[in-house]
Amino acid sequence: MSPQLSKHDPAKKWSGPTRKYDLIKEFVIAIVVVGLLAISLAALFSSPDEPALTLKSWAISDPADFIGTATGELAGTTVSAGYGAPYNTAAEGQVLGPLKLQKWAGVRIPINPADDFVIAPLAIDNDPAVVSAIAAWKAASVDQQGKWANAYADALGKSPKAITLPDPTGVFGPVPAIATGLYGLARTGALDGLLAAGDTPLPTNFTKPLLFLADSGTYFPDYAGARHLQGDQWGVMNETGSYPGQSWLWLYSFWYQIDPFKSSGNADVLVMATMTVLSLALLFMPFLPILRRVPEWIPIHRIIWRSWYRRKEE
C-alpha cells in the first residue's frame, strides 16, 4: 500500500493522489438537470392553492358558529380573549419551568377582542337597534357586560344551531343585537375590510381578522381538520392536497404526537425548547465528545468512499 494512502493529517493540504475534477462543468450540468427536474415536477403535479377563508365565508357557511364566537369575544371566553402576551394580559401564557418567556416579552401587539373584533367595527352600522345596543354596552359596567355576554353564550351553547334567541327577561341585554349586527356586517364582506384596515387603509397585516377567524369553534378548525392539517395530524408540516408540504419539519411535528408534549398546556414552549437543544447539538456536533465519534464507529463512510477503500486494500 502506498504510504500516501495510509495516513494523512486531515488538517493539512492533501498531498496524495489526485484526479481531474471539472467543478464548473459539474455546476452547469447540475443547474440544467435540477432545472429540468423542477420544471417537470411543476408541469406534472402543479401546486395547491385553496382560496383563503374570510369572515364573510364564515358567516355565510356557519352562522351559528360565527354568532357564538362573536358572543364569546364579548364574554371574554375565546382563545384570543384569554391568550396573554403578546396580545393582552389575560393569562400568563406558556411557561418553561420558572421561565415565563411569553409573559416577559410583553404586550407588543395589544388586542382587546371584544372591542377590536366586535364593538369597534359596528361603529359604521347605522341600524338603530345596533346603535342603541352599542350605546347600552358602552354605558354598562364591565361586570354587567360580562353577565349579559356569558348568559347569552350559555344559552347559545344549549342551542348550537341558533343564530339568535328570544330574551323575555332581558338577561342578555344588548348582546343579541350586537352579535346579530356583527353577523350582518360579516355577511356583506365589510367586516373583513374593517378588521384588516384598522391601522391603515392599505393593509398587509391580517392579525385581527386571522385571530378572530382562529377563535372559531368549528368553521376554521373543521375546515383544516378535513384537510389533515390539525396539530395531531402532523399539521405543522402538511399543506392542502396531496403535496409534501414542509416535510423537513417532521421532527418538530413529531413531538406534538407524543406525551408529555401533546397533553401539556405548555406544549409549544416544550417543543421549541426540545428543538433548540437538538439544533444546538447538530450545530456543535464537531465538539460533542461521544456523538462526533459515531461516524467512525458506524462504517457508512466505507460505502461513501468505497472506491477509495477498495484501492487502499489492493
Binding site: 494523512h8 493540504k13 416579552a105 397585516n205 416535510s247 423537513w248 468512499w305
Partner: protein, 203 residues
C-alpha cells in the same frame, strides 16, 4: 501608519491573499473525491438558483398574481418543487457530511456554516409558506403563532403579519442564505474536501 496596521491591509491579507486562484477554482481534487454523495452539495446550490430565479418572477408580478394567472401558477409550482428538491438535496448532503465526519481537520466552521444554512433555509421556507395568501398560509400562520409566542419571539415576529413575512422572505433571507452558502463554499475550497476517515485519522 504602518500598512500592517491598516484595516484594509488586514482584511486583504486575511481574505484575498489567503487564496490562490487555483484554490478557489481547482481543476483537480484528491483521488477520494469520487462518490455520488458529492453531487448533493452542488445540486443544493442548483436548486437554490432555481428558487431565486422562480422567486424573482413571482416577486416582480406580485404576491396575488399566481392565484389568477395560469402562468403565475406554473411559476409558483416551479418555486414549490424547487424548494422540495432543495431540501431533499440539502438533507442528503447534510447526512452525507455527518457520516463522513466532515468536521475533521479543523473544518468545524464549514460544518457550522452548513448547519446554519440549513436552519436559515427552514426559516426561509416557512416564511414562503406564510405569504402564499391562501388558506394554507392562513392556517400555518394561526398555528405557528403559538410556538413563536410561547418563547417570546411572537412579540417581534408576528406570523399573522403577512407584510412582515413577505419582506423578510423576499428581501432579507435570500441575502442571508446566499451569503452563508458563499461563505460555506469558500471554506470548502480553502480547507479542501475532508479525506476518508482512516486516511485522515480522527481528530
Amino acid at each position: 501608519m504602518s500598512s500592517k496596521k491598516m484595516w484594509t491591509t488586514r482584511v486583504r491579507e486575511s481574505t484575498l491573499e489567503r487564496f490562490e486562484p487555483k484554490d478557489l477554482l481547482p481543476d483537480v481534487q484528491p483521488a477520494y473525491v469520487a462518490s455520488w454523495i458529492y453531487i448533493f452539495g452542488v445540486a443544493t446550490i442548483a436548486a437554490f438558483v432555481m428558487l431565486v430565479a422562480s422567486g424573482l418572477v413571482l416577486t416582480f408580478e406580485g404576491p396575488a398574481w399566481w392565484h389568477t394567472s395560469s402562468i403565475g401558477h406554473f411559476y409558483n409550482s416551479i418555486h414549490l418543487w424547487s424548494v422540495e428538491l432543495f431540501f431533499v438535496f440539502m438533507v442528503v448532503h447534510l447526512w452525507g457530511k455527518f457520516w463522513m465526519a466532515a468536521w475533521r481537520g479543523r473544518r468545524w466552521m464549514t460544518w457550522i456554516t452548513g448547519v446554519i444554512s440549513f436552519f436559515a433555509s427552514i426559516v426561509t421556507g416557512f416564511t414562503g409558506y406564510l405569504i402564499q395568501t391562501n388558506f394554507d398560509s392562513q392556517w400555518i400562520a394561526t398555528q405557528a403563532k403559538d410556538s413563536f409566542n410561547s418563547v417570546g419571539i411572537g412579540a417581534y415576529f408576528n406570523a399573522l403579519n403577512t407584510g412582515q413575512a413577505m419582506l423578510i422572505h423576499v428581501s432579507l433571507l435570500p441575502l442571508v442564505l446566499g451569503g452563508l452558502v458563499v461563505w460555506h463554499v469558500i471554506l470548502v475550497r480553502r480547507k479542501g474536501v475532508v479525506p476518508p476517515i482512516e486516511a485522515g485519522g480522527s481528530e
